[in-house]
Amino acid sequence: MTDILMPRLSDTMTEGAVATWHKRPGDRVVPGDLLVEIETDKAVMEHEAYEAGTVAEILVPEGRAAAIGAPIARLTADSPATPPSPVPSPGSAVPAASAPPESTASGAAAVPGAAVEPAPSESASAGAAVKPAPSGSAAAGAAMSDVAARVEGPGRRAATPLVRRLARERGIDLSAVPGTGPGGRIVRADLDLFGTAAVSPVAGAPAGGTDRREPTAVPFDGVRQTIAARLTTSASTVPTFTVTASAAVDDLLDLRVRVNAALDGRKVTVNDLLVRAVARALRAHPGVNASYSPEGRGRTLLHGRVHVGVAVASPAGLIVPVIHDADRASVTDISARTRELAGKAADRTLAPDELADATFTISNLGMYGIESFTAIVNPPQGAILAVGAVREEPAAGGGTVRRLRCTLTADHRIIDGALAAQFLATLTGLLEHPLTVLA
């Protein structure tokens, strides 16, 4: 008997949640088989088997968390004497209670040479009439999975892939969700209703209450837990101050138009230019590209490399993928990497190293029309830049000028006001003389 332990999948992970088991008791496993998907504080990651055997027992069900090193399943060494617990395959007999689906194409068999195999279809299993083939078009759903779900027994509820993913993300136990789809399958509408009506009503709600105006409790997933813990630490232990400056960005915006015209298809965004400008400003002011360390009597860690985190609003919550060595990357390189990382954030497929080692963070809410805002420092980083929208404003000498407001929030233990001001002056200077951003 071998224990399978909760793996350590990221540097900052302390516990992991089982997102999806890919093997069930009785399943044979060989090294390299995908065993389980683990949700860490940063991403959902696949974990493979290292040894051969048969899954004897699953100790941590889907949706539950365990500390690193805790056993999450047991594997028995291969022996023919171990009878695997029965897991019916789609090919096994269907219980009499659920009638086998009708052939959608029974009529076709009347045509010599044109007989087709009976295709179990959702419409048939749901009792809907399907025309025999010669009298109408065949409409067949991919319903083998539906049949499989119904013969699998009470252990596994039929649910659509979309529902399984959403349940994983929202931390919902599907065994409690009523299914109204064909054969009792849980569909998204069921989940949405369950999410608004029945998730752990807070104390005081009437028993059996289905009043949708009651507050509902949505359990934190791993990402949300990390956000909550990190920012609480930051806001309650780091003394911060903010400085704001605005830059006239007419030239920058013109330059972007010219760059994009020259690039033939690939587009760089204002944010890409901003990342590059910030990286250069950090290079000019190493004291801002720094972290606080409590070691000894306290020290400032000056980072030799410039890794800029870019805050992204993903379906899973706030995620900060990192453009490593941003000071050595061209704007087009930054643009391509940012687009790739944002895509991965949306799919929850970011690798741990794509989220690690940022020395500074940019949070840009310009696309929402926000004029300016302050952000919370993400420890151990020393500072974070909050970027607003480009706004057209009256110019002092008449006419208009387009301006961009940037607000730096800094850890005052290592960064003083003058340094923060110098950094912002360098940054606005770069943005106002945009050729220096590209240079």
């Binding site: 959702e122 749901a126 078009s137 409409a139 759903g141 892939p161 979309l162 109204t180 569909v187 998204r188």
Partner: protein
Amino acid sequence: MTVRSYREALHDALRTELRRDESVFLLGEEIGRFEGSYKITAGLLDEFGPKRVRDTPIAEEGFTGAAVGAAMLGLRPVVEIMTINFSLLALDQIVNHAAKVYGMFGGQARVPMVIRTPGGGGQQLGATHSQNVELYYAFVPGMKVVAPSDPADAKALLLAAIRDDDPVLVLENLALYNTRGEVPDHDEPAPIGTARITRTGTDITLVAYSRMAAVALQVAERLAETDGIDAEVVDLRSLRPLDRDTVVASVRKTNCAVVLEDDWLTYGIGAEVAATISDGAFDWLDAPVRRVAMAEVPLPYAKPLETAALPSADDAIAAVRQTLDAVARRR
């Protein structure tokens, strides 16, 4: 923009290319003096002469093979095969020569030829003259297959096919020849391998090509009126290369899909689309992908039977309603 028929749009594209490029020439059965069985080549013999518009014997393998050779030596032949059913006689020339030459002989010669040919049933032409066998060609690496559903795409995709350096089969459709629509006056080709979202919607994705893409649009409009269903329509336009990204992105948005196809269901193009959706949008699916296709029979000649065997707008509407019933999102 000018309103043109699908037939006229194809004619316009041929005439444009014959005028633009001396190496373009047409060949096929009865395309010259008879002006083509479906009149696509009307007037072109008079305008361009018998060297550029060549009538051929009834010998599909022979004239398709001649086009392969001409293309290898630098001309741009546009072959008309009267219907896709007759292309089976030229299958070896298309599959084993046109599609293979470039890759098999180290890129020494390209085969910039076009085969124009209509598919489609519903004209009471019997089982051997009413098929949709575009799959045979979309299956073969080395081929490109485009399938326009409206006059604008008929012109733009035929222009693209003639200018492409690989063999391209342009699937026309008997039932679409008389349909009309706005066609740009310019001669810009459409990119081959790019699907088009012809109607944006949020509730369900309809994927189709050729005639069924036109049906899908009608179905979407009817469902919006009668059921308040907001369907998105993806017109594949190109069967090879297949624009999987557009299909997947749409299904990730709507969470369910129905594929409409004029060919047979089993092993059909809808099966490839369904597999594409399963690969790229599995975690976004709230219902199985459903397919609407032709009945699994040789198409009958008798009108009532022929109509019953072909996929219809009503069949598509039923499939959409069943799918949305399954996800409890039908209003």
